[in-house]
């Protein structure tokens, strides 16, 4: 081997191994939250479930002159003097915003649990059990309706907890540690208002309690995140320990009210029984329609057929039924045949750009679902809007309550009409993405997106047109993917906008606008 060849091989190897593969993640680039408005009056904003901001008590804080408080100041100094690399990483991570980070944690858990159970040897499917969440099939199966509900409860609980917290902050008027002792350094931007109870700890406590109910197998993980989150407030010099402890306690108390509501909102029964599943089919046949049939093998029961009866936050069941869209084209009609042909055309004529759209908005099994996608979109914009934590929580609560109610309305329509997917009726229709295991009308993506774009356009009017065009693309992606008819996406979109406008109505009167 000659000398230069030997060296070129060696250099080639070094170049191969040393080139950096690290990925720059968008959410790791977020700057520390530094709100441009403090929202000191948020204690008067309208809560979702609380009867008043004082429904749950928050005890009198210890005096700043007490020995105990002084010890807690010393704790800050000692932690700051002994910062580890892990401490600094945690500080930087959580400084971007507490509501934001817990929303990301929730999206991650949704993606982790969003997988349909594997079949039993006899071709039936096991049902996840909340009392045994870590035995396969893991509880929950965080499918889109489950996810929409989870995002709504966590966001709304955080919002109500913060309304209470802002009330108590204004009531106790406890100065920040750095204002009590000017030798305390603040290592992140700290809002110049009151420190008791710690609003970040309130958010964390509420998120922890709500998510422990929704993802019962993740208690250890959530506890770890809770501890890290509140610890960074002490490291940052923003709060003393008693302020974060009071915050966690208040957040957990408020969340307990949401947990009780979630246990009785009928979602737990949404899976239905074999008798319910058979009746849906026989009712459709009795109406003279081709009923939906699972295209999975072995045939899987339809996803959460009774979810349309779940009690949402913006609409009651009567309203859901009153707002139900008219029936889709009858499976025997010429109009249906025409829509079916259009789906076949999209299946047989995919372009690279339409495939990109289908995959970008796919949000299928194993992902954070379409509501998760809209949370990601919202959060990336909110970061630039410099909201206070309470406004962050309020806006995400509006977004997620809208999508939760959109899921209820959409699932109500799906099982009222129980119509077949295009591939069921014409087996020449191949799909560009996974075929969801529930009826077609209306499109979930379209309903979620119409609702999300409507409320986000209200919260961030400068981007209203962008949100609407994103929603339009998300909606069309389902036709391009050959899994939905045009009526599914158009009616879904318009139903979503109607639900979104209910969230806008609430936004106009909650005291925050």
């Amino acid at each position: 081997m000659n000398f230069s060849l030997r060296w070129s091989i060696l250099l080639g190897l070094i170049a191969m191994v040393s080139c950096n593969k690290e990925i720059t993640q968008r959410n790791m680039q977020f700057a520390a939250l530094n709100p441009d408005k403090i929202d000191t009056s948020a204690g008067n904003w309208k809560p979702v479930l609380l009867t008043s901001a004082t429904e749950f008590a928050c005890d009198l804080p210890i005096a700043v002159s007490s020995a105990d408080y002084k010890l807690q100041l010393l704790e800050i100094k000692s932690r700051q003097a002994n910062m580890t690399e892990a401490d600094e990483a945690a500080l930087k991570y959580w400084s971007a915003g507490t509501v934001l980070r817990w929303n990301e944690i929730l999206r991650e858990l949704v993606a982790k649990y969003n997988l349909p159970p594997y079949q039993n040897p006899d071709g039936t499917y096991p049902i996840p059990s909340s009392t045994n969440p870590l035995a396969y099939p893991y509880f929950p199966f965080a499918n889109p309706p489950y996810a929409a509900r989870a995002y709504a409860y966590v966001s709304a609980a955080q919002y109500d907890a913060l309304v209470a917290a802002y009330h108590y902050k204004g009531f106790y008027r406890r100065s920040r540690p750095s204002a009590v002792d000017n030798t305390i350094k603040e290592l992140v931007p700290v809002v110049k208002d009151y420190a008791y109870p710690s609003e970040e700890a309130v958010v964390a406590g509420a998120a922890f309690a709500m998510m422990s109910m929704l993802f019962p197998g993740e208690q250890d993980y959530l506890q770890e995140k809770l501890s890290e989150c509140i610890d960074t407030r002490i490291l940052a010099g923003a709060n003393v320990r008693s302020e974060v402890e009071a915050g966690v306690k208040l957040g957990k108390s408020v969340a307990a009210k949401f947990v009780s509501r979630a246990r009785t909102d009928r979602a737990g029964k949404a899976i239905g029984t074999p008798a319910d599943w058979t009746k849906l089919e026989s009712d459709a046949i009795a109406r003279g329609e081709t009923p939906w049939i699972s295209q999975e093998s072995p045939k899987r029961p339809p996803m959460l057929p009774l979810f349309g009866r779940t009690i949402g936050f913006l609409m009651d069941t009567t309203e859901v039924i009153t707002n139900r869209p008219p029936a889709p084209p009858s499976t025997g009609s010429a109009e249906f045949a025409k829509e079916l042909d259009e789906v076949l055309w999209y299946s047989q004529n995919p372009t690279r750009e339409r495939m990109r759209i289908v995959h970008f908005w796919g949000d299928g099994a194993g992902t954070y679902t379409p509501p998760g996608h809209w949370n990601a979109i919202a959060c990336e914009d909110f970061v630039n809007m410099r909201f206070s934590e309470v406004r962050w929580a309020r806006n995400l609560a509006l977004l997620n309550m809208a999508m939760f109610d959109a899921a209820i309305c959409c699932w109500d329509a799906k099982y009222a009409y129980f119509n077949p997917r295009p591939s069921q009726v014409n087996n020449k229709i191949k799909t560009l993405t996974g075929l969801p295991n529930f009826p077609a009308y209306t499109s979930g993506h379209s309903t979620f997106s119409g609702a999300a774009a409507t409320i986000l356009g209200h919260v961030n009017p400068g981007r209203a047109a962008d949100y609407m065009s994103m929603a339009d693309e998300a909606s069309k992606s389902r036709l391009y993917g050959a899994i939905h008819y045009r009526s599914d996406i158009e009616i879904g979109m318009s139903m979503g906008k109607t639900v979104g406008s209910k969230a806008v109505d609430r936004a106009k009167t909650d005291g925050a606008d």
């Binding site: 091989i9 991650e108 159970p117 093998s297 995959h359």
Partner: protein, 304 residues
């Protein structure tokens, strides 16, 4: 929905390569060998992590490919090899649509480092450097049906060969560096959420061993065993779709044959059969390939 596009990418690099980048045979200076190979790969069971299963929503995975390849002798003991394939992947059950198109361009530079006759054993050492890149804008994030993985790669293979009369043995090991891949989504879950459209691909280590009989570069029969192993990557979750950066391993056994066609001097027939015996996040694939290659000498100054 399962994995094999990865498998295809690997197989194109590994098993199509009889008399190409993973053997010790060289085209003489100014000799050109070019040809086409048809390939068929199928499986109906796969490993989801380590769990061996079938999937009635996939049925069987079927891949057909046509690969064009050329091998040119730049000098004695120095060859350049190029190949590219058109691939058609589909599944026989469920609703998912198939994918087809032109996949990646593979280029290799192959150099004989050392050769010596030691007591009747003809021994040689060979180094092969390779690069590959996608030729078209195909969709990668649709495994197992996507036709490739879109990663740009750089590889280095070291190979040793010993021949005694007509019998020979070859062993080689290859390290493949894989670039990040850009996908159509801007967030995805592996074992955690990743908010990026970039996927970090684990590198690949593979080795193979061949034993056979040969008579010149155009007539041989060999059996081979190869092992492909991604260095890192994660397991598919139960009932999940496969993903580009999964941990993909496979152990395969196969045969390669090359024989001169009597019809025309310089024309040879090649055939390959490979069977996956064990794996991880891969299909238990059976592959057949057959093709024709034609070898000729490019005379200096012939063209002008």
């Amino acid at each position: 929905m399962r994995k094999l596009a990865g498998f295809l990418t690997f197989s194109i690099c590994v098993s199509l390569s009889a008399q190409t980048e993973s053997d010790a045979l060289f085209m003489a200076k100014r000799n050109l060998c070019g040809g086409f190979m048809y390939g068929n790969t199928s499986w109906n069971h796969y490993w989801e992590g380590t769990f061996y299963r079938n999937n009635a929503n996939i049925g069987s995975f079927k891949s057909n490919s046509v690969m064009a390849m050329a091998n040119y002798g730049i000098g004695n003991g120095l060859n350049v090899i190029a190949s590219a394939a058109w691939v058609d992947n589909r599944v026989t059950a469920g609703t998912l649509i198939g994918q087809k198109g032109v996949q990646d361009l593979n280029l290799f530079l192959k150099k004989e480092l050392w050769a010596k006759d030691i007591k009747g054993f003809n021994s040689s050492l060979v180094a092969v450097g390779g690069v590959s890149a996608p030729l078209t804008n195909y969709v990668a994030d649709y495994l197992p049906i996507s036709i490739g993985m879109r990663s740009k790669t750089a590889s280095i293979r070291l190979l040793g060969d010993v021949q005694k009369e007509h019998w020979y043995g070859t062993a080689s090991a290859m390290y493949t560096r894989r670039s990040n891949v850009t996908i159509d989504r801007n967030a995805y879950y592996t074992t955690e959420m990743v908010y990026s459209n970039q996927v970090a691909m684990p590198d690949v280590f593979s080795y193979n061993v061949r034993l056979g009989w040969r008579d010149g570069p155009d007539k041989y029969f060999e059996i081979l065993a190869d092992r492909i192993n991604t260095l890192g990557g994660f397991d598919m979750r139960k009932n999940d779709m496969p993903f580009l950066s999964n941990n993909m391993d496979a152990f395969r056994l196969g045969i390669n044959v090359k024989y001169p066609a009597p019809a025309l001097k310089g024309l040879s027939v090649m055939a390959t059969g490979m069977q996956t015996l064990s794996g991880r996040n891969m299909g238990k694939a059976t592959t057949f390939m057959a093709g024709l290659v034609y070898q000729t000498e490019i005379k200096k100054g012939e063209k002008k």
